[in-house]
Structure formats: C-alpha cells, structure tokens
Amino acid sequence: MGSHEHSHEHSAAQPLATRIQHMTGLNPLKCYQCGKCSAGCPMATETTTRPHDVMRLVARDQLDRLTDADGLWLCLTCETCTSRCPNGCDPARTMDALREILAARTNGKNHNAIRAFHRSFLTQVRNHGRLFEMGLIMSYKLGGGPMFADVTTTPSVLARGKLGLAPHNVKGLEEIRRIFEACAAQEDGA
C-alpha cells in the first residue's frame, strides 16, 4: 500500500500524531527536528511557533499549545518547508490538518483576522460560486479585519477597471452549496 492509502478515520481520543497520520497518510514522527523547514520559512522572522516547532508539538501531543500558535495561522502555504523537508514530512499539509482540527475551537485569542479572512472568502464562494472581490473586501473589512489603507486605495483599483461591482453567480450554485454541506457533514462524521 502506498503512503497515500490511509484510513481517514481519526478521533480526538488518539494521540495527535496518529490523528494526523490518519488524516494525511503522513507520519509526523518522521520529523527529526533539523529545522530546515523553519530555515526556509518566509514567516519565520514574524512568528514564534515555526514549522519545526509545530512538528515538535504534534509529536509531543500538545494540541492546546497549537491552538494559539501564530505560525499555524500566518502560514502562507508557500510549501517551501514541504519541498525541502529531508524526510518528506510535508509540514504544510500537516498544518492544513491542524487548522482543520482547530477550526472547531473558537477560543483562539490571536489571529482572528486570518480566520475572519478565510471565513469571508469561503462565504463569498458559497454564495456566488466564485470570489466576488469587492464583496470580500467589504465583508472582511466590516467583519473584524483590520482597517488598513486599502479602503483608500480601492477607488484607484476601481479606476483601473479591476473590480467588478456586482457579483457573478455560477449556474451550478446549488451544487456548490451541496458540496459545502456534504463536506461539513463528512468532516463531522469522521
């Protein structure tokens, strides 16, 4: 059986590393803490929990400490860590899985902005099938995102004909909503 064949079945009762392995087919315990992931991570200077720290906390079964781990939420998903990992650990995929596990937890103090962005983004996709950028900007900025200078630059964006003012709805919107619901149901059932 290839490494991609995995059961997908996991539960909160299992050690975190086992859970991650069931979700991703990857063994986080292969990590030997060389730090090459963090050495290449573009966000390493801005975070305190870097990719190799995440891997370490997974190995030590410290889900609570990962809840507020900044590196998890500031990850750019650039996959530099994954492409250079000597052990094929795929920290990027591991962090995806952790975000998925932690999405249910709402007690995270930090990085609500990032979560709010993801939420706004997916709401746009769910409602329209495509990203309505203007809608995203509005909903995100109003929904708790930091009010940066972006609002002032938006007119210049509009002037260049870059932003549509009305959303485009895809025809298969029903299907998109069904996908969202089915995925939510699957995740709950897992």
């Binding site: 030997y32 060389c34 730090g35 963090s38 050495a39 200077t45 530099t80 250079r84 000597p86 052990n87």
Partner: protein
C-alpha cells in the same frame, strides 16, 4: 524396516506444563516403525543424550526423533549424540514442540494433540532419511583482495604475514585509496601519509603479495576454496619491467592542465602521470583520454607528440600496449572496494538519488566537499597546505561546514548516517583554525555522533578550545551574492532564523559505494542493499562474511566506515581467510541437490533458477565417446541447498538431500485425516 526411537523432552516445565509429554511418547510409540518411545525431563542434558546413545545400541535404531525445542536450538546437539551412538547423524531430526507448540498454546489438550501431530510428522520424515556424509572439497590456499585502499592493504598484509599468497587488485594506478588523500586523521591528528606510506611499501615488497595495479576483476567463476578469477590489466602504456620511475617522462608532457583526481580537481597533472609522489607502484600511467598522441589516434590522425618516449632513457613507453588478461586461482576473496563521495549536482547516476537544487546543484564556486578540504589542508596538496578558496585564491575568513549533505536525507535517496562526517568536520575546523588564526569556522549540524575512543573529547575540543561555532539546524538555501555565499539557516536551539555570509563552504557529503559495485557484486554472487553497500551474512555474528561462502567484505564498501573500523574489518577478514586456509580440505553440510541422471531431460530449468551457478552441463556418452544426452549436474561444492531447482524441475529429477520429495510427501501424508 525402520526402527525409530522417539524421545520426548519436558524441557523442565517449558514443554511439560502445556503438553502431556508422557501421552505424546505413548501415542508416538504406537506409530508403525517406532520401536522405542520415551519422555524425559531434560533431553539435552548429559543423561538425556546418553539415553539416545543407549537406545541406538540396545534397540538397533535406524532413526532418532527428538521432540523438544527448535532444531535451531539443539539439532547439532542431538545429531552429535546420534553419531556418538554409532548412527549417521543425519538420521536424527527434531520435532519442535516447544517454540511451535507448548510456548504458544495454553489449552493442554489441544497442545498435546498438536505435539503428537508434530512428532508423527517428523517420525514419517525420519523413516525416509538416509545416511549423509559431510562434503569435503579441496582448498586453493591463495587469496584475492579487491581494492588497494587501507582495508585492502591491511587484509593483504595480514593474510600474507599469515603465510598465504595474496593477489591484490587495484583499479587505479596506485594503491593507497582515499586515506592517501587525507591530510591528518582524527582523533589524534597524526599525518595520514606518514602512517600509510610504510604499509604501501610493505605491500609492494612483500614476497607473498602479487600486486596488480591499474587492473580490474573481469569475471569470477567457481566457489569457496576454488575460485578462478580473470583480471583485466589495463594498458598503462608503460613497460613495467623497464621503467625505473625516474619521472623524466612526466616532466616533458606538454598537456599539464588536467585536473588531478588525487587533488580532487584542485591541482593539475600531466597526461602521463604518477598520481602522487608516494605512489605504489612508482610507475607512470598514460591517460589515453588526455594524451595528445592518443587523442590524435582516436581521430585517425598521425602521431605527433612523443615527448615522453623521447625523454625515456629506458625505452619503457609502449604506445601500442593493449589490455591484458591474467587468470588466478584463489580459495577466498576479500572485497574492499571502498567508497566515493556523493556530489550534489543535478545529474545523478541513479534515478532515486537527487541533487541539492537549494544549494545550487554544485554550481556555486567556493563550495567544496570534505575530500577537497583535505587536499587544501594537506602539506603535499595543491596549495601546500594553505587554506585558499578555489575561485580567487583568497584565504577564507568565514568558513562554514554543512553536515549531513545527502546523509540522513531520505528525500535525496540516502537515509543512512555516513558515520565519519561529524568527526572529520570537527577535525577540519581545527585544521582551519590552526592555519587561519583570524578566521571563524561555523558548523551546521543535526546531531554530533562521536561514539568512539577519544572521539567525543575530540569534537568537544573543537568547540570548547579551538573556537568552532556549532549551530544545530539544516540550511534551507544557499546562494552566491557577489563574492560571498549567502546562507539561510535556522538555529533550532536558540529558536531563530539565521542568515549569514561565508567566504567558503565545505559540504560533508554522504559516503556512497564505488560506482560499479553492483556489477562486481553480481560477478561474486553477493547481495547488496538498496544503496549498493555489500550485505554482510549476519549483521551481528557474521559481520565480515557475505552470503556467498568464501567471499568476505572489509571497509567502506559494506557501510560507511572510518579508518580504525576498516582496518579492524580487514584484519577480521584475514583471520577468516587464514582459518579457511588452515585445512587442505573443506567440510560442508550435505544439504545439497543431486540429479537423477536416468530421468533428467536436460531442459536446464534448474540452471536458470540456481542463484549460485551450481548447475553444470554433463555429457552422457556411449562407449565410443558419442554424446548421447546432455544433462544437469549439481556441483556439491557450489550448491547451497535452497532446493529451488527441485521445485522447478518438471520431472522431479533433482533431489535435495535432507528435504527430498519423499520426505516431504510423507510429512504431509502424516498430517492426513
């Protein structure tokens, strides 16, 4: 009619607790052909063995079954006892009622039934056992050593000093191997050349060592005690008998810009060259790929340059020399072909091995490997021991060493530790600090593996007293910016990213087996792992033997090894070889296959499946000498007894002694309802 004796062992409580041994003895005693069946507390004890011996004499037994532990435990014991009782030892077999029965079951009734089944099965087998005698084969008491590095040199000297002749084959123009390239050796910092050169000379002068340098093993036939080895003596274009090693030829050669292999490309050599001053033999070799005369010949042009021949007063240069072949008979072979260093380039010899794109695939100048650093640090090296970087000859003030390059990196194809790098990097930082007083050496490492006498003390000294800065973490990326090398790493102990500039970077690259090791291993029928390292016969108990009898392994062709390891292994192979040569004849277990000549159809399926080349073609002739049939013959000296030939033979004309079809048929029959 068979007269079998059954001896059921209680093994103290080990068997008796879950198996009713008396019942087993009683029921087995009812099996036709069993004339004696008893149980006893400890069959392997002296009284137990005496019972076997006595019963053989008193009951006239024709076979012995001991129902006790695994045959892997005590088969030899009871076969010896059987022989002591005057019966052929191969008429004794063991029924495994301990490991395979009493120890794995709790239900006493079920275990007893099973123990009876197991014993009856072996009784039926033993009824069909026949007396066998150990096989005796003559031994040619000369050894072949392949590879003239430190391991091969040591093995050759030890065997020769032990009084046996040795053929030493080295593919390069000189013996000495990688050790001759090293500057100083850890952990004592003694000069490598100084300790190696005398041994090289000793090899050359030893009356019982025949050295074939610039030669390779072409083919190997035969088996333990009786190998026939064909050796290709590559044309070095020099008459070895005439040359006196004066060196006049190398001085006149006009092609002086060839990167020297010995100096790892950092120095230059001529087309006719002696690889290094202490070379053994001290004979020049013409590199035909680089010699003007041969380059012209390859293009069909007339010879122009003959400067070396003109300079030679002994007329020793022979441009028309061709490869020659010699055949040597030997009884044992030591493989000591050593290692090569992994390089980080994009093109790799094997598809599973990858280069380091993140370190520039080897295109950044002033990024060198450990062996190149040895040459820079060596007093006899291209810079006379000055640390200078290759690009501009400047002395690097900031030098960075990266450990585990390729090693412990499964994604690059090598998951193993190369073992020696931690130590030589520590040594390199010391050599560097000794030579560049205002310089700073930094080491990126993952773990410091310094297990060995004086090793940890040595690596600590590099840090505590000699000023090397060790940073725990792998480097993510490395690139050239102007004339500095930018390094993007991470200090996992301090928990912070590091970007630093270096003037020179030294990579501790992985040790890999020599290229061509797989074809040599195939010639020798020895197995090798996925990396190409030769497999030892047993990782604990037979570390220098291979799975082909008579072929031994020493040094870094088996796994990454440092010098003391390689030397110890070499001496161990010598002791194995000398042990083998202690007798004129060799004794082997008789578990070998034999062909039924009357029914063999000569299809040679057996030959195709034999991993040892034990199947030969035998001609059956009439009285006039006409060949009637060609059939298979299994050479008992070569056969290892796997029986694959027998299962493959369509007419069942091969029988493996000890595991004949009749024996197995009877065992299956005995298990019937």
């Amino acid at each position: 009619m068979a007269r079998i004796g059954v001896f059921v062992c209680h093994c103290g409580e080990n068997i008796g607790r879950t198996v009713d041994c008396a019942k087993v003895a009683e029921l087995c005693g009812q099996v036709p052909g069993v004339v004696h069946s008893v149980d006893y507390k400890y069959m392997c004890s002296d009284p137990g063995q005496q019972m076997v011996k006595a019963a053989i004499a008193e009951k006239g037994l024709t076979g012995v079954v001991v129902a006790a532990c695994s045959p892997h435990m005590h088969e030899k014991t009871f076969r010896r006892a059987t022989a002591g009782g005057g019966l052929n030892p191969f008429l004794c077999e063991m029924a495994n009622v301990r490991e395979h029965c009493s120890w794995i079951h709790e239900d006493r009734d079920a275990a007893t039934v099973k123990a009876v089944d197991i014993t009856k099965t072996i009784v039926e087998k033993v009824k069909r056992n026949v007396p066998l005698s150990t096989i005796r084969i003559p031994v040619t008491r000369r050894a072949l050593v392949i590879g003239g590095g430190i391991a091969g040199i040591q093995a050759a000297l030890d065997i020769a000093d032990g009084g046996r002749e040795v053929i030493l084959v080295e593919k390069d123009p000189s013996i000495g191997g990688h050790m001759s390239q090293l500057s100083e050796t850890f952990p004592t910092l003694d000069c490598s050349q100084c300790i190696l050169t005398p041994r090289m000379v000793e090899v050359y002068q030893h009356p019982r060592i025949k050295l074939y340098s610039y030669s390779e093993v072409e083919s190997v036939e035969g088996y333990i005690g009786n190998f026939k080895v064909k050796i290709r003596r590559k044309a070095r274009s020099i008459d070895e008998d005439k040359c006196n090693g004066c060196g006049a030829c190398t001085k006149t050669c006009p092609n002086k810009k060839i990167p020297s292999e010995f100096d790892c490309g950092l120095g230059k050599r001529t087309a006719i060259y002696v690889p290094f001053p202490q070379a053994v033999p001290n004979l020049p070799t013409i590199d035909r790929a680089k010699c003007l005369l041969f380059m012209n010949r390859a293009k069909g042009r007339p010879d122009t340059c003959k400067k070396c021949a003109e300079a030679c007063s002994k007329e020793a240069i022979d441009f028309d020399q061709v490869d020659r072949f010699v055949t040597e008979d030997v009884g044992a072979i030591v493989v000591a072909t050593g290692y090569q260093l992994y390089t980080i380039g994009k093109d790799q010899a094997k598809p599973n091995i990858k280069g380091y794109g993140e370190y520039g695939y080897g295109t950044i100048p002033d990024v060198i490997d450990g062996l190149q650093f040895e040459r820079l640090a060596s007093a006899s090296g291209p810079t006379s021991g000055k640390i200078q970087r290759p690009s501009d000859g400047k002395e690097p003030k900031r030098i960075v060493f990266l450990q585990c390059i390729g090693s412990r990196d499964p994604q690059k194809g090598m998951d193993y530790c190369s073992k020696i790098c931690c130590m030589y990097v520590a040594k390199h930082t010391m050599l560097y600090h000794h030579k560049v007083h205002d310089g700073q050496a930094t080491v990126f490492y993952m773990d410091i593996r310094a297990a060995g006498k004086g090793y940890d003390e040595f690596s600590r000294r590099a840090i505590e007293e000699e000023g090397a800065r060790y940073i725990r973490g792998r480097v993510s990326k490395m690139w050239r910016d102007g004339d500095v090398i930018k390094i993007q790493g991470f200090d996992t102990l301090a928990g912070e990213p590091i970007e630093m500039d270096a003037d020179m970077v030294v990579l501790a690259t992985a040790m890999r087996p020599q290229p061509g090791i797989d074809s040599l291993a195939q010639k020798l029928s020895v197995s090798y792992d996925q990396h190409g390292f030769i497999n030892e016969a047993h990782p604990k108990l037979r570390p220098v033997e291979t799975n082909t009898a008579g072929v031994y392994v020493a040094g870094a062709c088996q796994a990454p090894r440092d010098i003391p390891d390689a030397v110890a292994m070499a001496s161990a192979t010598a002791s194995k070889v000398l042990g083998l040569f202690a007798n004129e004849m060799l004794e082997r277990e008789p578990t070998v296959a034999r062909v039924d000549e009357s029914s063999c159809a000569g299809c040679f399926h057996c030959e195709r499946v034999c991993a040892y080349g034990a199947v030969e073609h035998k001609e059956i002739k009439d009285r006039a000498g006409n060949v009637l049939r060609v059939i298979a013959y299994v050479n008992p000296g070569v056969c290892q007894g796997c029986g694959t030939c027998q299962a493959t033979c369509p007419s069942k004309s091969v029988e493996l002694a000890g595991f004949t079809d009749e024996q197995i048929w009877s065992e299956i029959q005995a298990l019937g309802v």
